[in-house]
């Protein structure tokens, strides 16, 4: 056992010395390889973290949201709607909501204006989301003016900025009192944006939705599970497209690795002959090369993965911001809860460490089984 360990260390010494002879080339390879793992692992960790976070917090979203459609477009809930729902069995609690969008020409960003259900916000005051506060440079106590769609200027005082920890969900929120909301948007009295419902028996949600649709034919119930599904598949969409982009990088790397691994130079061939002549077995040569493959690919895997971890969970996925940002001006700064998915990790490991090690070993195989007497003739 100790012999075995000593021997492997000698083989590692040798393969490192061999790698060290083309230091720049091999370090370059390691860097490219690590970068590839970094990108793959970052995408993996980021989407996984985002999905898990969405799953966690959206478990609290309303069981059913009822919209009213007019000509296929969402429209306001007219007075009297609530009473009709109240007669449907199984509906436990309902709440008509007021919310809408506001485009702020100052920073060219969209905000979500919303009237909280329970919290009472005094007239003339606002509670704002953290990204919005950052963008407009607001702290509690500041005054801010918005010109409403009707052209009037409204000035509010910021009562509070929502906690940064909830920024993923609340980045662009503006919470205000119902009176202020109606005045600001000229919102018709008695009308609402939509209705949230909770259902007494969770197994009955679909039935209740069907009854709602039957009783109110112009309505569209949206179930919590549908909302969750939307975000469960977040970023799965057009993964093919992302993969296509990555495939280019993968291919380039494959060529690089193939060139490096299979382009067994005459020099390397000669060295293998020498090693065999002076008493190395074919297996020793293969083991030495195996270590070379493992050292490079495992290092790249670990470097890439750990860098991705730090990037995604400690630097808030800084490199993904431009992608996420899209065309929006406001976007959240959020810190994802670290997640490890064993299967994903194993997949990443398999697809990064295994092919390279194999690519190193295969060409060496043929060279390693040649007769050692060839060295006598060089």
């Amino acid at each position: 056992m100790t012999d075995w360990f000593h021997k492997q260390r000698y083989l590692i010494d040798f393969s490192l010395a061999a790698l060290g002879r083309r230091k720049v080339r091999n370090l370059g390879l390691l860097a490219a390889y690590s970068l590839l793992v970094f990108v793959l692992a970052s995408v993996m960790l980021f989407t996984q973290g985002l999905r898990q976070e969405a799953k966690r917090v959206l478990a609290e979203s309303p069981e059913v949201i009822l919209q009213r459609l007019v000509a296929g477009r969402q429209d306001l809930i007219p007075p009297g709607y609530l009473e009709q729902i109240g007669r449907i069995r199984g509906v436990q609690k309902m709440e008509a909501r007021l919310w809408g969008y506001y485009y702020d020409p100052v920073v060219k960003a969209n905000y979500t204006f919303m009237v909280p259900g329970e919290r009472q916000i005094p007239s003339g005051q606002l509670v704002v989301g953290p990204a919005l506060a950052r963008e407009r440079g607001l702290v509690a106590g500041n005054l801010i003016s918005f010109r409403s769609y009707s052209g009037r200027l409204f000035t509010f005082q910021v009562a509070e900025v929502l906690p940064q920890a909830s920024e993923l969900m609340s980045a662009d929120l503006v919470l205000l009192g119902a009176e202020d909301f109606r005045a600001f948007f000229d919102f018709p009295a008695g009308h609402y944006t939509d209705i949230t419902l909770s259902v007494a028996n969770p197994n009955e949600v679909r039935n209740v939705a069907a009854k709602l649709a039957a009783a109110l034919p112009d309505s569209r119930p949206i179930l919590r599970e549908e909302v969750q599904r939307t975000y469960a598949s977040l970023f799965d969409w057009r993964e093919g497209m992302v993969l296509t982009v990555l495939a280019g990088a993968l291919l380039a790397f494959a060529i690089l690795a193939w060139d490096k691994a299979s382009g067994l130079s005459a020099e390397e061939r000669r060295e293998i002959g020498i090693l065999k002549a002076i008493g190395w077995e074919t297996g020793d040569v293969l083991r030495m090369k195996f270590w070379e493959g493992v050292l490079i690919s495992l290092s790249a895997f670990l470097i890439g993965y750990l860098a991705a971890w730090v990037h995604v969970f400690h630097l808030d996925g800084a490199l993904f911001r431009p992608v996420l940002q899209g065309w929006a001006v406001l976007y959240p700064h959020f810190r994802l809860t670290p997640q490890v998915d064993g299967l994903q990790l194993a997949t990443l490991f398999f697809f990064t460490v295994f092919p390279y090690t194999a690519a190193v070993l295969v060409p060496i195989w043929r060279a390693a089984i040649t007769d050692p007497d060839a060295v006598m003739r060089t």
Partner: protein, 93 residues
């Protein structure tokens, strides 16, 4: 005598593996104490969508968007905003 290359390499790999385990441990610890504020806010306001894409109303509230809005398109359909390439259209069932 200087350090053997294999000592450095194996040490480095051991360090990396320790880091890998540390990520696991970190994930485990954080999972113990998730921040309760966000779910509470979601419940209070009845929120349905993270504020990932605020460029348009149908990207801001994907789950609530109109059925004819972009994102509902055929997979080969051309959407206006880049975020469309990141999110799947809702399933109609």
């Amino acid at each position: 005598m200087s350090l053997r290359p294999s000592t450095l390499a194996l040490g480095g790999l051991a360090l990396g593996l320790a880091g890998l385990l540390a990520t696991w441990a970190e994930a485990g610890l954080q999972a113990q104490a998730p921040d309760p504020g966000t779910p509470a806010l979601v419940r209070e306001l009845g929120l349905t969508d993270p504020a990932l894409f605020t460029e348009a109303r149908y990207t801001r509230h994907l789950a609530l968007s109109d059925r004819h809005a972009p994102f509902q398109d055929h997979p080969l359909g051309f959407d206006h905003f880049p975020s469309a390439s990141l999110v799947a259209p809702p399933r109609h069932d």
